[in-house]
């Protein structure tokens, strides 16, 4: 129980430390923080170190890309949206046509008296597998996956 209290006190002091460094403490938290600062020299030292660290990280900036990147940003995004829609329509059309073509091919194979039964079964299995693969790949590539395995990553 004492260990638990000590851990939660530490956790609380870390949170207060961060809130103070980022100036996001409420008035009651600020009172708690001021009390710790006055009574705990180690806490005060840590606070000074984190304040210094914050000054440094806050002053850091990423290199900005050329202006054209921002000028073309929306247009490129728009093109990606449009192309995505075009690919979906194209793929649906292609799947329909390919499936129809394969269906007709299967019909012709079945109707061919010259081909042996086992060959017919083999060809039909290959074509059927191809259709399933096509539909599966198109579905995976073109539609946003609803079950992204990394959706819950490090919440």
């Amino acid at each position: 129980m004492t260990d638990h209290n000590s851990t939660s006190n530490k956790e609380r002091s870390y949170q207060l430390l961060m809130g103070a460094v980022d100036q996001e403490l409420t008035s009651s938290e600020l009172k708690e923080f001021n009390h710790l600062i006055k009574t705990d020299p180690g806490f005060r030292k840590e606070w000074e170190q984190y304040k210094k660290l914050k000054e440094v990280t806050q002053a850091m900036k990423f290199k900005s890309p050329p202006k054209e990147v921002w000028d073309n940003y929306w247009m490129n995004t728009y093109n990606k949206i449009e192309r995505g829609i075009a690919w979906i329509i194209f793929s649906i059309g292609a799947i329909i046509l390919i499936t129809y073509g394969l269906f007709k091919a299967v019909e012709a194979i079945i109707a061919d008296p010259q081909l042996e039964g086992i060959i017919k079964i083999g060809i039909i299995a290959v074509l059927l597998g191809l259709v399933i693969l096509l539909v599966s790949v198109a579905r995976e590539k073109l539609f946003v996956r609803k079950s992204d395995p990394y959706k819950e990553i490090q919440r």
Binding site: M60, K63, P65, Y73, R155
Partner: protein
């Protein structure tokens, strides 16, 4: 964000949900820089950051109807972006550029102009050390420092973006800053 901004954003989102792409363009232009720089901080490559931030906008557009009325666009969009960035990072070979290459060394602005040259050299060393240390942090530690210190988001905004309580944000920030401070031991533990 002010109350007016929020109302304005809500009306833009409603237009987007009716399929108005130009309104979506306004949202994209409002948040593109923030999105790009966060992605850059996470993946460390300009081209990757540009692609990922745009791809996240494309995915957000396709799912815009799922955005609830009480949710802010960016915090919702950010969840798509971070998933894309972390998936990208899984392929370690792509993360070949050191973080220090994307940083602009602007720590000078916290240096007092009256400082002597030896102190300035020390500050130059410090900024190089900080970029290197940032590069060595775990992606999730780097993420929270980028959101708070580089992008200056509030705890509330970070909590909404990361879908966690504010207390968790504070604890994660502490862990990340502690890791950063430990890597810069000689500068901060004097």
């Amino acid at each position: 964000m002010t109350k007016e901004d929020e109302i304005d954003e809500r009306s833009i989102i409603l237009l987007c949900q009716r399929g108005d792409k130009q309104s979506y363009g306004r949202l994209v232009e409002k948040y593109m820089k923030r999105a790009y720089f966060i992605a850059l901080g996470l993946v460390g490559v300009h081209e990757g950051a540009l692609d990922l931030s745009q791809d996240a906008f494309v995915r957000a557009y396709r799912s815009i109807n799922k955005l609830e009325a009480d949710r802010k666009f960016f915090t919702w969009y950010y969840q798509i972006l971070r998933n894309l960035c972390f998936n990208y990072l899984r392929d370690a070979a792509r993360h070949a550029h050191p973080f220090s290459k994307i940083g602009e060394n602007q720590i000078n602005n916290i240096i007092d102009s009256s400082q002597d040259s030896s102190l300035q050299v020390e500050q130059k060393e410090l900024k190089e050390a900080v970029w290197k240390a940032m590069d060595e942090l775990k992606p999730h530690e780097r993420e929270i420092i980028i959101l708070k210190d580089f992008q200056e988001l509030s705890y509330k905004e970070i909590a909404e973006s990361m879908d966690c309580p504010i207390g968790t944000v504070m604890s994660r920030l502490f862990t990340a800053r502690q890791a950063l401070k430990n890597k810069l031991e000689s500068y901060f533990n004097d």
